[in-house]
């Protein structure tokens, strides 16, 4: 498809001038001629009228041609945008089908072998299968993360906005991760200072943002540590703070935290997409996310969302 780099609107002023200002000048000339009987173009009045008419028609024709060119380019832009959207949708559908189906097949077949449904499996074989299972889980997380990111970056069109009680949706995320925290002997402390605090947003997406922060907190907190989820109102905003007693983040790494595929600790499992997705979700809700951290003491992620329901509506 034709590559378009110039802005078609740039020529709009010229077209406007040719189509409007030239006939206006002709009109002005005729008016001064009539009112003040002043004619700078002394001679055959018929010839002068013919000339002015010719000039106006030329101006109109050139202006019309430029406008037509502008609209043609707009149509090409629209076609390109539509094509690009179709490519994106095809990409998502292909990724969904071509990657998720094989992953589902690998996952269930490994499970069957591991469980001994196909025959006896010794401990060493189980260990290898366990490794395969964790690799498959990593790939599944990566594919899901990429698709989520794609969906989020595709825009806010599919946001399902409702009035959400933050304590309720946060409580559900805590329950969801309680087993994981118990396994690591990490305490999750809930500090919901206003049980009725609500924002206007997409429940699925905000839940995802909260669970990402909690999951990160649990992942990086050593045994017997704690992750605290605090919710409170602050003037026109609702604040969600997730703090942990993990190793903390060095100052020079904090700027990289929200980059896609950035994994500051390669020893910990993860795709490096969780915080990028969280940031996108928060920004879709007209909010902000920041982090405070001290090496050796822990980190605190702070989400600030506007409480005014209209502020997040578009």
């Amino acid at each position: 498809m034709q590559e378009l780099k110039e802005n078609p609107y740039k020529k709009f002023n010229l077209a406007f001038a040719l189509m409007v200002i030239v006939p206006f000048l002709v009109f002005l000339y005729l008016l001064t001629n009539k009112l003040f009987d002043f004619n700078i173009l002394v001679g055959n009045i018929g010839f002068i009228l013919f000339l002015t008419l010719f000039l106006s028609l030329c101006g109109f024709y050139i202006g019309f041609t430029i406008l037509k060119n502008i609209f043609d380019k707009i149509l090409i832009y629209a076609a390109q945008a539509k094509h690009s959207d179709q490519l994106k949708s095809t990409f998502v559908a292909t990724v969904s089908h071509e990657l998720k189906n094989p992953l589902a097949s690998i996952k269930i077949n490994i499970y069957n072998i591991f469980a001994g449904f196909i025959g006896q499996v010794n401990i060493e074989q189980k260990n290898v299968l366990g490794l395969c299972q964790s690799i498959v889980e990593r790939m599944i997380n990566l594919v899901n993360g990429l698709l989520d990111l794609h969906k989020i970056e595709a825009g806010v069109a599919d946001m399902q906005r409702n009035e959400l009680n933050l304590a309720e949706i946060s409580g559900r995320q805590v329950n969801e991760l309680q087993v994981l925290a118990d396994k690591k002997n990490v305490r999750i402390i809930k500090e919901f200072l206003d049980e009725g605090l609500s924002v206007w947003g997409d429940e699925g997406k905000l839940s995802r943002a909260i669970i990402n922060l909690l999951d990160n907190g649990i992942k990086f907190t050593p045994e017997n540590g704690a992750v605290t989820l605090k919710i409170y109102p602050d003037d026109q905003f609702a604040k969600i703070e997730c703090s942990d007693t993990g190793p903390g983040i060095p100052d020079d790494k904090i700027g990289l935290l929200f980059n896609k595929f950035e994994r500051l600790n390669a020893a910990k499992e993860g795709t490096g997409l969780g915080l990028a997705i969280t940031k996108d979700i928060v920004e879709m809700h007209r909010g902000r996310i920041s982090v405070e951290s001290q090496v050796g003491k822990g980190s605190k992620f702070i989400i600030i969302l506007p409480r005014d329901l209209r502020a997040t509506q578009r």
């Binding site: 998502v92 559908a93 969904s96 089908h97 998720k100 189906n101 094989p102 992953l103 589902a104 097949s105 690998i106 996952k107 269930i108 077949n109 499970y111 069957n112 469980a115 449904f117 196909i118 498959v136 599944i140 698709l147 969906k151 599919d158 399902q160 699925g204």
Partner: protein, 125 residues
Amino acid sequence: MPEKAPPKILVIDDTKELVLGLATLLKAQGYQVVAAYDALFGVSLAHKEKPDLIILDIGLPAGGGFYVLRNLKDSVQTLDIPVLVLTAQQETDLEAKVKQMGAAAYLHKPFAPESLLVQVKEILK
């Protein structure tokens, strides 16, 4: 008194490796399993076998999973067979859509085998 036959499950999915995995998993739990790899064959097998449960993929060749679901729920012979829908598709409202069409449950691929077994037991209870 003759022993009651184990519940029969029809799996309709075009990913043969997944059907193999599902069949192994379900047979290990004592279920009978029959399989179809496309929509048309799936519908005809549902009418012929009268299974106790159908596990149905949405992204199917020869008609698609929606065609199968609509067909099953439109026929008095198959109307009461519960359908567990599996899908790799991404649409946010897909779960609501298939449940509105009469599906009993919904799982997103790749699913945990344990979750599938819980759903199957729950539906066949």
